[in-house]
Symmetry: C2
Subunit: 267 residues, 2 copies
């Protein structure tokens, strides 16, 4: 049943607005918020569980196909004014539709690690734009899965979800509370575990030979990988760079590393 | 001589604030604005012409070495209040120093194109974050020069300068009013001109053989390269991607393309 919401004091609106603001609120509600025709369509296609779908009158007509799909899939569907929709949006010119979505399973994606897969593991990536871009690139390049340390920025933040271009719905992502234990498990499974470091004495990624399953670790934007993570890995690799240059942006570095992993193993 | 400015109505402040706002104002004043210890230091090191250096009292003491260098190099040096400095800043927590800098020479960098160089040419890149990242990556990977079509976003916008991590002061950049004529000139000089396209029938960048000087063209975020640019180039290349994936972010695509050019020609 389609419900009209006309007051900004409506409890549903107040709860949903919180999903924009903080990771803590998202965890408490076990949900996140997305907006715009493209992302909402991706969510529907992926089979994610839509809790509330909010449309403006105009958007419900303009995107009638999407509205009809949402009517079938969402638990609740609401028509709201432009003013109320704006509260639920963090873009300057909202497209008139917002969904709240139940958090996806990001816990147990890799119980059986594929013996020929390429994985990327991110330790304490703190910029949502970087995380979004890395997820998008991981999907485009065919990376088999992404592992995030618990101290990475929240994968459900609006910036990450938007920057990922919906990859957050499709790429296998596992959030790991103990990255070191996870690396050790990979080592026991015979995987190559690669710590990427800005250190010219490490093996150049261009010289690296890869066979079988491998995981590439990329660290925090300012501080790189922790010493513990570097020591847990069985190899150190680096991107050869121009002497007097600043280092690469974290998402570009991760992209080049993923590209090289895929290139080496797809021949 | 160090001058104190205490009023926000001071003509110098009013003119400098305009440099934050629009490319038009920057062109009219033939200057741009930078902030923060790191970028200001890069500007001083690069020998760029500093017109006005603004410091808060606190910053002039905290960054005394930089303040002394600025005293020697800048045409004018000013002490301003925190409130006035905030007007000249577009970051949330300014570091207390802002320079206005004369625009760099971005017109005649490539009269003699290096016969073994790798160049990247950007057509209508519209997102300042992408342009900043591409400049930063170009420097880190040792690209010999960047060519920008006139309809790219303004290289002197605060976001581009910041995102480039100062590469804007160091990388050779040429702004071209007629990109097609420039490509034709490269062709006449015997260079390889490569149009990057999201088209699986184009040659895979992984299969491409490169010898001698080459220029890689990358197009607008939403629309890619113009037909005219594609037709002017002597080869089409593409980044092989996962079937059901969204395409790559423009700065990631450009980074992978630059990486491959450098990798192929550095062996």
């Amino acid at each position: 049943m389609i419900q009209k919401i006309t007051s900004r004091d409506n409890e549903k609106i107040k709860q949903s607005v919180k999903l924009l603001k903080s990771a803590k609120d998202r965890r408490e509600q076990n949900a996140f918020i997305i907006e715009g025709a493209r992302l909402c369509d991706e969510a529907l296609k992926s089979g994610a569980q839509i809790e509330d779908a909010f449309f403006t009158e105009t958007a419900s007509e303009k995107f009638s196909e999407l509205f009809n799909k949402a009517e079938c899939s969402a638990e609740n569907i609401h028509i709201v004014s432009d003013q109320i929709l704006a509260l639920l949006s963090d873009t300057k010119t909202p497209q008139g539709m917002v969904f709240t979505v139940t958090m996806l399973d990001k816990k147990n994606q890799f119980d059986t690690i594929n013996r020929i897969g390429n994985y990327i593991a991110l330790e304490n990536i703190s910029d949502p734009n970087n995380l979004g871009t890395i997820l998008r690139t991981a999907e485009a390049l065919g990376i088999d899965g992404v592992i995030l340390s618990e101290d990475c920025c929240d994968i459900y933040s609006p910036k990450v979800v938007r920057g990922s271009m919906g990859a957050v719905f499709r790429v296998k992502v596992q959030i790991e509370s103990d990255m070191i234990a996870w690396i050790n498990k990979c080592n026991s499974n015979g995987m190559t575990t690669l710590a990427s470091v800005p250190d010219c004495t490490a093996e150049k990624i261009t010289d690296l030979q890869l066979k079988g399953a491998a995981v590439m670790l990329v660290g925090n934007e300012a501080n790189g990988l922790t010493q513990e993570a570097i020591q847990a890995c069985n190899s150190l690799v680096t991107i050869p760079m121009n002497g007097d240059a600043e280092s690469l942006n974290a998402s570009v570095a991760a992209s080049i590393l993923m590209w090289e992993m895929v290139r080496k193993t797809s021949k």
